[in-house]
Symmetry: C2
Subunit: 242 residues, 2 copies
């Protein structure tokens, strides 16, 4: 058997080679990259491939291009850190804030969808939803309370086998559903009665509520979620672009 080598697009290889060149030549000084013609020679690929590689670097805000002048290194090329505009799992968010993530399950419920929920998920009135309630901890401290609802019709039975797994990963593995985007509202709020009475949260503490609707790669709404974040623990950063 041959090793099942993952074939990588030439343009990706070219991109990596260019990044390598940037690092090695330490060109921060005058900030100018080789011309596209020069890169064609250096990498031994066509102009189209060079331009694809440069387009990737431009998307990642590492270089910028000016017609008639050239391609240049951005002054602050290290924009790697993820912001809220990136849809990442809660686990990753906590870890990126420097804490050790863990989960405490509060419960799984099957209920009729609220009017808002049904409207957002595109369900009929009173259709059943499965609601997952979890506390997210960052190095033992309360980071957020997450209430995620999914149409019950997506499940054959109540899915108790999720436990510590990410909801995203569970849907992908078991249902072949890939969550790709979310539309989220940011609302400063007090804790709900449930949080105060059942979970022992201080009622004077302020939270940031993210009301979110998650869509799959075909644009269908899948998860409606209400996530209450404690702003002292989770710092929200957003990378904004025009």
């Amino acid at each position: 058997m041959e090793t099942p080598e993952k074939i990588e697009a030439l343009s990706h290889v070219a991109k990596e080679k260019i990044l390598e060149y940037i690092r090695e030549s330490e060109l921060r000084v005058d900030d100018t990259l080789p011309t596209e013609a020069r890169l064609m020679e250096m990498l031994g690929v066509s102009r189209h491939t060079v331009r694809e590689a440069l387009a990737l670097l431009e998307q990642e805000r590492i270089v910028y291009r000016v017609q008639g002048k050239g391609t240049f290194l951005k002054k602050r090329p290290l924009q790697i850190e993820h912001g809220l505009e990136r849809l990442a799992s809660m686990t990753d968010m906590i870890r990126s804030c420097g804490f050790e993530p863990s989960t405490r399950w509060v419960g799984i419920e099957v209920r009729s969808a609220s009017a808002r929920m049904a409207e957002q998920l595109g369900l009929d009135a009173e259709e059943k939803v499965v609601t997952f309630k979890r506390l997210r901890l960052a190095s033992g401290n309360l980071a957020s309370y997450c209430v995620d609802s999914i149409a019950a019709s997506r499940f054959d039975s109540i899915p108790c086998e999720i436990r510590d797994e990410s909801l995203f990963r569970y849907l992908e593995r078991e249902k072949g559903i890939t969550i790709e985007t979310a539309v989220s509202y940011v609302i400063p709020t007090k804790p709900t009665r449930e949080m105060v009475e059942d979970l022992g949260v201080d009622e004077n503490q302020f939270f940031i509520l993210l009301e979110q609707l998650h869509y799959d790669n075909e644009g269908r709404p899948v998860i409606y979620s209400l996530d209450y974040y404690q702003p002292d623990v989770i710092r929200f950063k957003i990378n904004r672009t025009r």
Copy 2:
């Protein structure tokens, strides 16, 4: 003189034609677009151009493509509404929330940069900055209080001619600086003493503070801003993607 017609890229024209086709054929039903080969015939352009047009439509989350199967319309194609991840002027944000925007100037000051400011803007300690303070109103109601600081070295004199104009537009017109991105932190907070004492804001009212650093198209930090938003008036929406 000939009319100075703006030349539009063929791929843009192709994109518009495809959008037109989508609207006219009302194909929501089975969601499948013509193949690339068919689009080449229909539009009379090369495959590269068709693919550029489709790439634009994919970026705008209007279609998705699956290798070996085809190109499809997203189930929720109308994701036009702008969110916080899009860097827009305050004026546009207020207008998109359904209000009539206006500005009340609080003042323009020249001060030494604070430690945080100097660090963020890449200035030497104690270097001078020009600070613009403005109240933003939405149909007469307080929407936000904006404090924007720029290195004084960027100005020949104190710029009093800005007034109602957007700071972005002023920098572009007068200084040739294009603000392209911002990195922003979302912090729930109480009003500052200045807001309570000088501006008559209720000290018990909660605000969302956006601490922002704006970069130009070359990646240089230009504006450091603290914007206090009243969440009752401005609804923060974020479009998140993986």
